[in-house]
């Protein structure tokens, strides 16, 4: 009966032992293995009979047997209280000689054979690897943080600095321990902490969406009290400590300085440009006054004394009249040129067809005298300064008529819809044409391709056209072949309707 009971309980224990998830090894005080389960066989690569009676140091060379001896000097109760529940990490040895990390839990049990020690042994290869991985990852992240070119400061939602990198130390002039736990307002007084509060009132998702990639420009404060401009990029991150905000902080002093420098340059350029246009305006206007005197009196001289002095005098006066007349025309054109910029009106919806008719009316006499045939397609409404558009058409049509071969000048004006609301206007003639190497030059100031005896002109007409078109945001170009006529094209923006 007793024997049976003992057998039954034996079987029950054995069942328990075998069902345990860990390798179980029971060792006596002498360090000999008295019992083990199937998991232990598997883990160590031995058959059961190869281990029973063997010293436990065969499978756990260091750290276990010593403990047994130590325990032997203590009372069982002491040993018991000390060991239950403590996991010791040791190295285990398989039959094939390979090592693996284990965690071992000891629990002494008193038996008829004296105090035995049950060891639950867990292979922690995977866990160890995971832990090592974690450490490596953390090192890597720390490395990343430290290697970042920007100062990085991680702040919790109450505005306390929880992490920072070496760049942050450098930029703000603090040692790390001086900043950890401090309020972020001590280095960024305004604009950052407020944002954290605002973020706390928003959902994390909102905050996240709103802040990733947004650069804020703020002022930062060094330990020595000096201020410097920063650009700060925030990215919220959720951690076990709640939401944290990582701030990448860049010192933008140099950029700010460059910006200020650039702005100064722009201002300076604008000023000098203004002065220049003003100068051209004043100069051409004020120069006209004395020139009017020279011109008027030279003409009076010519009128009254022609044929009354000698032939040299007549010739000299003739050159003087010619020169002064040309000078007047130059000044007038220069004035028109400079006023394209200074006296231009707002660009409003304008009928380009009406502007062309206006220009043709102004050219009435030129057209009649030359017998030119000027035609046009229906033309669109565009955004333009009406007066300047008239001037543009007038100059181009006048040129088309002027630079002609013998015969009837034929000029056609058309417009083609381009991309979006762009219109490309064409003024096509059957005139002399232009050699390609002069295509760019003709739009420059005072550029002429013909001798004055052949064609009069100041060489400003096309420069004025270019300036008008550019003021309207377009480009002007020419396409031509010698003796094949020319087509001048320019772009204007159509009005919405």
């Amino acid at each position: 009966m007793r024997k049976r009971e003992s057998k039954e309980s034996d079987a029950r224990y054995r069942g328990l032992l075998e069902a345990a998830p860990d390798a179980m090894v029971v060792v006596d005080q002498g360090g000999a293995i008295v019992l083990l389960n199937v998991q232990a066989e598997k883990q160590f690569g031995y058959r059961r009979d190869e281990l029973i009676g063997q010293q436990v140091t065969n499978i756990i060379p260091v750290g276990f047997a010593e403990r047994l001896i130590a325990d032997g000097t203590r009372s069982a109760a002491e040993a018991l209280s000390q060991h239950i529940g403590t996991g010791i990490e040791l190295s285990a040895l398989r039959k094939d000689g390979s090592e693996f990390p284990i965690e071992i839990m000891l629990s002494p049990l008193e038996s008829a054979e004296g105090i035995l020690v049950t060891a639950a042994i867990r292979d922690i290869t995977v866990r160890r690897a995971a832990a090592e991985h974690l450490v490596r990852m953390e090192e890597r992240y720390r490395g990343l943080l430290e290697a970042a070119p920007d100062a990085m400061v991680v702040v919790n939602t109450t505005g306390e600095i929880v992490l920072l990198n070496v760049q942050a130390e450098k930029q703000f002039g603090y040692r790390r321990d001086e900043l950890l736990g401090q309020k972020v307002t001590s280095i960024i007084p305004l604009g950052f902490a407020e944002r954290l509060v605002a973020d706390a009132q928003r959902s994390e998702q909102d905050a996240l969406e709103q802040q990733i990639g947004t650069g804020l420009e703020l002022l930062a404060l060094r330990k020595d009290g000096s201020e410097f401009p920063i650009e700060i990029m925030l990215s919220p991150l959720t951690s076990i400590e709640g939401m944290l905000v990582t701030a990448a902080i860049r010192d933008i002093s140099a950029r700010k300085k460059a910006e200020v420098h650039l702005q100064d340059k722009v201002d300076e350029l604008r000023r000098s440009n203004q002065e220049l246009t003003h100068f051209a305006d004043i100069a051409s206007h004020d120069l006209q006054e004395p020139l009017r005197m020279v011109s008027s009196f030279i003409q009076l001289l010519a009128r009254r004394y022609k044929g009354k002095l000698d032939s040299d005098a007549d010739e000299f006066i003739g050159y003087a009249v010619d020169g002064v007349t040309r000078m007047q025309r130059l000044l007038q054109d220069l004035l028109i040129y400079s006023r394209v910029g200074t006296k231009g009106k707002e660009l409003i919806e304008t009928s380009s067809e009406r502007a062309l008719s206006h220009a043709l009316a102004n050219l009435g006499r030129v057209i009649a005298d030359s017998g030119a045939v000027v035609t046009h397609d229906p033309l669109p409404d565009v955004l333009a300064d009406h007066i300047q558009l008239i001037q543009l058409f007038q100059n181009l049509v006048a040129n088309a008529i002027k630079y002609q071969k013998p015969g009837v000048p034929i000029v056609h004006v058309s417009a083609a819809k381009g991309q979006g609301d762009e219109w490309t206007f064409s003024v096509k003639d059957n005139g002399l044409g232009i050699e390609p190497q002069y295509f760019d030059r003709i739009f420059g100031m005072f550029q002429r391709l013909h001798k004055r005896e052949d064609f009069t002109g100041t060489g400003i007409g096309l420069a004025i056209c270019k300036k008008i078109v550019e003021r309207h945001g377009g480009c002007i170009s020419v396409e031509s072949q010698l003796d094949q006529g020319s087509t001048f094209r320019f772009g204007l923006v159509g009005s919405a309707s």
Binding site: Q288, E289, R292, M293, S295, S296, F297, Q299, L300, Q328, Q332
Partner: protein, 155 residues
């Protein structure tokens, strides 16, 4: 003598030209001569002198009352705008037609002159022919066609 040489009262027509540029003075005189009108052109070379002439003060005590004033705007001492304002504020002078003859094409000058009751505003053309044409038309309109108050009708 053709009509226009003599005013309705039988006296020669008197024009006061207020102009500081001797060249312009001479040009205007020549242009009036081209227009073949033997009018008497008096010259004041600045605004102060113009007012002295009109008010017969100082060395202008014996000056005649002009039938027409040609007034430049940019003048030393007292400029044309002030002269115009003074003339039109003076009951004795405001009936004299005052024509602005200037190089200024500024809209502000034009508006201001008419507000001050200038009788017309003319700009000096750059070309001699055009200038002569302008003086001729001043003569044709103001000194020939327009009926002006008689010289002795002082208020």
């Amino acid at each position: 003598m053709t009509k226009g040489l003599i005013g309705d009262n039988g006296m020669p027509i008197q024009v006061l030209l207020v102009e500081d540029s001797p060249g312009d003075v001479r040009l205007t005189q020549e242009a009036f001569r081209e227009a073949n009108v033997a009018i008497q052109v008096h010259i004041a070379s600045d605004g102060v002198e113009a007012m002295e002439f009109l008010r017969q003060q100082g060395r202008h005590a014996q000056s005649p009352r002009p039938d027409l004033i040609l007034l430049d705007l940019n003048l030393p001492r007292m400029d044309g705008r002030e002269v115009l304002a003074a003339i039109k504020a003076d009951d004795g002078l405001k009936s004299i037609p005052t024509v602005i003859l200037t190089t200024s094409e500024a809209e502000a000058d034009i508006v201001r002159s008419y507000r001050l009751q200038a009788n017309s505003y003319l700009t000096k053309p750059v070309q001699l022919d055009a200038f002569e044409g302008l003086v001729k038309s001043i003569n044709d309109f103001w000194l020939t066609r327009a009926k002006l108050p008689k010289n002795w009708q002082r208020v």
